[in-house]
Symmetry: C2
Subunit: 375 residues, 2 copies
């Protein structure tokens, strides 16, 4: 079939919106009509050329929602008409990772996904001239229609609005999941969130959901404060306004009983490796847990004195918020529909596919929290 897509022809160039060919689903695959897609920093990371594993030409986009149009042979878990969210982290339920009970990082199709092709090694996308176009993160939601493996499709309730729940395909789940799956924050905890962009806001609402007592937001831009408070931030620290952000947080978290101080949990949502170190070191001696969410530049390394760990701090990271997509994403959609979490105020801009490059401009200028393309 023909469909309309924004194609990344080369690194550092704007996307080009054009008609492309899309082959139907093969065995175990699902054809989806994408109804809405968010534009995420990871798309920007790849489009800019900064991602050393970026491949071109490709159809980017990994934060979508849509409707199943057709299924290939053997597909049993979704059918035509089902509302779904594509998963860049699949959940096959049969690989060593899925069966470990310890990780969400399904590895069944990792190799081919990284190469921009379907599990059988080929792409379903091509130009009208027949030249192949690569898939991206196994999703390619910047196309009005796309094909995914069945194991990478989460079935969601039909009454959820596509233009909001598409955000659950990446940002919402990453932020909330980091809190509840990776850090396992408990009621009454004190937590710090570094970076108050979209991921940071979702971490904040995850912390509110988890019942944290103190939710400290850290950002060098004071304009972020109001929105973060709206999602549950209780304290704001601007590193530009204090000598030492680690000491500031340690002091802020001291109590008359506990004069050691330090956050129980911290989350890096910046991708800056220096901030990651601060995030670790501001946690509480003995039990502080710091979770890295942000994606660092290629080759950058994190660093600290081992004493920080020997005295009880734990350094971890999270991908897709530790969520198992087919199992957990439908639950998060329910939470949104039930009002347990909010998404609407974070979708600051709605665009048509033709306007998609404006979404990247809005991201660069810091004007948007999330721009969503509605097909």
């Amino acid at each position: 079939m023909r469909t309309r897509a924004a194609v990344a022809l080369a690194a550092g160039k704007p996307l080009e919106v054009m008609d492309v060919n899309l082959e139907g689903p093969r065995a175990g695959e699902v054809l989806i009509e994408i109804k809405a897609t968010g534009i995420c920093h990871t798309d920007e990371f790849t489009l800019s050329g900064a991602d050393p594993e970026g491949l071109f030409p490709a159809i980017l986009g990994h934060e979508g929602a849509g409707v199943v149009v057709d299924v290939g042979a053997g597909v049993t878990s979704v059918k035509k008409g089902d509302h779904v969210i594509p998963l860049y982290t699949p959940e096959c339920r049969t690989c060593p990772s899925c069966l470990s009970r310890k990780t969400n990082l399904c590895t069944s199709i990792r190799a081919t996904q990284g190469q921009g092709v379907m599990p059988d090694g080929t792409s379903r996308f091509s130009t009208l001239d027949g030249d192949p176009i690569l898939h991206y993160m196994g999703c390619s939601t910047f196309s009005n229609h796309t094909v995914l493996p069945e194991i990478a499709v989460a079935k969601i309730r039909p009454d959820a609005p596509f233009d909001k729940v598409c955000y659950i395909g990446c940002g919402v789940t990453t932020g909330i999941g980091a809190v509840i799956n990776t850090a396992k924050v408990e009621i009454g905890a004190k937590a710090v969130v570094f970076g108050l962009g979209g991921i940071g806001l979702n971490v904040i609402q995850g912390l509110r959901l988890a019942g944290a007592d103190m939710i400290i937001g850290v950002d060098i831009n004071p304009a972020k404060k109001a929105m973060a408070e709206r999602f549950g931030m209780t304290h704001f620290v601007n590193p530009k306004d204090c000598e030492n952000v680690v000491q500031e947080i340690v002091n802020l978290t001291k109590t008359p009983f506990d004069q050691i101080g330090g956050a129980d949990y911290s989350f890096d949502c910046t991708g800056n490796v220096k901030v990651m170190r601060d995030a670790l070191e501001c946690t509480h001696r003995g039990w502080g847990v710091s979770v890295i969410i942000g994606v660092a530049p290629a080759g950058a390394t994190i660093e600290t004195r081992p004493f920080q760990l020997v005295t009880g701090r734990v350094w971890k990271g999270t991908a897709f918020g530790g969520a198992r997509g087919r199992t957990d994403v439908p639950k998060i959609v329910d939470w949104y529909m039930e009002g347990k979490i909010e998404i609407d105020p974070m979708i600051t801009h709605q665009l048509t596919l033709n306007e998609i490059n404006r979404g990247f401009d809005l991201m660069h200028s810091g004007e948007s929290i999330r721009s969503v393309v509605v097909y």
Copy 2:
């Protein structure tokens, strides 16, 4: 009273065995006759001058066992005649750390302990001329008699031999505790131990106790292999015999089902920050946990790409094996007496107090696993 002690008069000098004055226990304190003490790398670290927080003159030693001789006012948990192990990590059961349920790092007397004095700010030790001598790690087991706060004394069964269970005061508990308290290794796990000295051997027997399937030992000295096997090591890797120790371990842990590979748990017992990185990176994508036990040189930092954590590895550390001294040390003594763990083959040398400097020589030359001074 007068007692006999090996005194560290200055950094980099041998200990001097001499008579010293020891004041009796004040309120909340306990006077202990030390019957035996191990000589640990941490004593050597301080004596050498490498420890930036080392203070002199001091009576080193923190791995002892002995008998209560006298107690100060208000002491209720031990009495004259009780057999005890001094604790460099106390357990007050009332501070924020003890009450957190999350850490063993009691902070009630941390400040004064670090300054080489008792909680009231004074030392009980002095020269015969009356010049104060500092305590060390709150223990000073290189003295035939010493005074400790009640909260830093673990009462043990009276039939346990002092010259063996003194090792539980540091090395045994650190190694076994790292496995069961910090890493919480489960039956069937695959684990790697970097560094097959005394701590490494105790990690290995902790892994055996925990039911690990695969216990890989890593050391550049092949002479360590036999003893490590005796304690439960199932595979040996010499980094000098392979191109890339991380890849070697990943390959070794692959199965027909799991072609990703990597250890479930790893333990650094070397103190080398480069080894700490290898220890993290050889663990399994998705769930590998790496525990730092070794003490790094002052100022040294650990480093890795955040991607290692984002893809599910966890970096932690342990001090005193995460053990709460008064609660857990008596249990480990029981395990020794019941034959669940072994200590005897690790005590390679027994010395008199007058021979104590030979214990440091044996450590330097690598001849000893553990030298114990018997009073």
